[in-house]
Symmetry: C2
Subunit: 392 residues, 2 copies
């Protein structure tokens, strides 16, 4: 029998307890032995929870219990979660997490310790919720060099953009609706300004480009400035607007978060509502895409528990570090990145080679391919209200 402890009894922690309990049969079959959920750590009381008997408040109980094989960290943030993660690993336990902030920030501290202690540190649930993407990248695409990776990584933003487009809503109205339905937080900044997406694309690009990408260095534009007109202009040309985290390979990979014009021929075009999707272009396989529920208690817990299973099955042979954390990468410019751009502005510019758009109020056009420096200069020249890359 393998023993597991969950730290943090919020949405994901509860979902993990549910999956471990409800699907205990199939999990035991996969592993070859049953999994016992021994402790749930939380500072709060849950007297009416079916898991009340497992709740504890002192991390030292987990740390000092030699029976605990795997610790699931669902605390979030980078404070106490970091401390407990490091202590659990030092105590010889594998750690599984859904905490993208911690992975994006503290991998250089956590990965080498896990290697030293010969345990697994797994984080499939940190990006794309339940969608298998970390394992496919580290394992199934292992024979490939990645050219380009881009993902719809934030369900809140995608829900808002879908609603704005389908129901002709302003951003503020769609945001309020998302908050009402529980898709968006009371303070939606991390989601709508792309900060959450930046953490996730930092993790994906760290794997793809085998270096530790500093999440805070990623140029980041969110969706709060997008108007109904932008969506109308896009729709008239058979584009959808999607917030993408993106990494383009090169000497200095261009990594950024921005809304994009996505053509109807691209599979990301049809990804609606709160779904997530990650599109990968690599040298041998070509293009592939991974699609599914990017949030929610059970979908995310599905990924957490798949990691728990792996940590137990591969106890004798823990996974190696997912990237070279010694090699840190701060995104400076996007010097090699060239794209066409959508621009909306208030007065008609006199520029060659642009394609004027119709379908919305105001003036909007698509440029010829240009560098980031060029679009920045152009944007300031025409007093652009918004601009974003147009995918081919």
């Amino acid at each position: 029998m393998a023993n597991v402890a969950i730290m943090g009894f919020g949405t994901i922690g509860f979902g993990t307890a549910e999956v471990l309990t409800k699907n205990s049969d199939i999990i035991a079959k996969r592993i070859g032995e049953p999994v016992n959920l021994k402790y749930i750590l939380d500072i709060r009381d849950f007297p009416d929870s079916p898991y009340a008997s497992k709740l504890i408040k002192d991390f030292a109980i987990i740390e000092n219990d030699p029976e605990i094989d795997v610790v699931v960290e669902c605390i979030g943030g980078t404070g106490v979660s970091r401390d407990f993660t490091l202590r659990a690993i030092k105590a010889g336990k594998s750690v599984v997490t859904s905490n993208k902030a911690l992975v994006a920030k503290c991998a250089p501290e956590i990965f080498p310790l896990a290697v030293e202690k010969n345990v697994s540190y797994l984080f499939e649930a940190s990006v794309g919720g339940g969608i298998p993407i970390i394992h496919p990248l580290t394992q199934c695409l292992a024979a490939n060099n990645i050219n380009d990776i881009m993902g719809i990584l934030n369900g809140t933003c995608n829900y808002i953009l879908t609603q704005m487009s389908q129901k002709d809503l302003d951003f503020d109205v769609a945001l309020k609706q998302a908050q009402k339905l529980g898709y968006a937080e009371a303070d939606p900044t991390d989601d709508v300004e792309g900060i959450d997406t930046a953490r996730k694309i930092a993790i994906l690009c760290s794997i793809c480009f085998n270096r530790h990408v500093i999440s805070e260095s990623i140029p980041c534009k969110g969706i709060s400035k997008i108007t109904k007109d932008d969506l109308a202009f896009a729709s008239c040309e058979n584009y959808a607007i999607r917030l993408l985290g993106r990494g383009v390979s090169g000497e200095n990979p261009a990594i950024f978060v921005s809304p994009h014009f996505v053509p109807s021929t691209n599979p990301l075009y049809g990804v609606n509502d709160a779904f997530n999707s990650i599109f990968v272009d690599c040298d041998m396989l070509g293009t592939s895409m991974f699609y599914g529920k990017g949030a929610g208690d059970l979908p995310t817990a599905s990924a957490v528990v798949s990691d728990v299973i792996e940590a137990i099955v591969k106890k004798a042979l823990p996974k190696k570090a997912a990237w070279d954390t010694q090699n840190t990468y701060s995104v400076k410019g996007q010097s090699d990145f060239v794209s066409r751009y959508y621009v909306r502005c208030s007065s008609l510019p006199t520029i060659d080679g642009i394609k004027l758009l119709s379908g919305g109020n105001g003036i909007a056009f698509i440029t010829l391919p240009m560098s980031v420096e060029e679009i920045e200069a152009l944007s300031s020249k025409v007093n652009a209200e918004i601009y974003m890359p147009v995918m081919d």
Copy 2:
């Protein structure tokens, strides 16, 4: 240094040699040691090949070379490929294959031998070409019960259907075009009649339902009877026609191959040309989809080499059997499967609750939900020329 032998120097065998050679740097980094392609076995001569020096004709050289860690089987079929696979495993070597016919037929013989000899038998490339699907199913979705799995698993059929729909072509014309482009064989029966799809869905369902599904027992309808009119009727109602291999869970899982009406709200709708895609609905994660190139030398070799990497990395801890081969399953009926159906016939039927369609020549309608027995009875009553499930 790890040593690899390739058996069969056709499209996939050559692609595997190319990936191992071209991406040797990244592969060595992933494994922690370089991979040496030591032998290529083929009965033919390839004097002008860059790999000519590695070509051998006698399998015993591979079998008796203790340096060989992994054997890649790209021979195809179930004759000599079976013999060499069993002998390689008996000699203590892991085997990686792209051969769906062999996996679908001989898993009950091969899996237990691999377990006994403590080596890996891996077959990611056997379904969906380069798309990661076997590992996601066995590993990332391991905490889930699968409700429904369906896949566009044959690029030839999907290319033909896309061309018929986009260019208003008859089946015969589109088939000839596919043959000209090398997408279809001179004898296209295995592809267009769904036999290839049946083998692949047999493998996927064997994993999902943890029993050995007898591929030959799968009810199988292909695309050769589909006309331009069917595509016109479908398109007018916002459906695409896709050939799906499908498995629906239950006491006796319904497993079958058939063209389907796929609505534009389903992500499989947008999968065009020779691309493959697998859609999975499971109890914890909900729906997810895996999309990419389902054929071709380098995409398939990408999956082969990812398995080679895994076999080397996990030498000390080979993967367990992917399903319980003791438990064989012969698909008898589809007793629990209920669906609406599209029916095209020559004279107007007098039946309640049907929705008559327009947009094509002839008479076509969509039924209310019914069982397989009911649609068979109805089909014979109205002299149907074709019928197929309509997805919600």
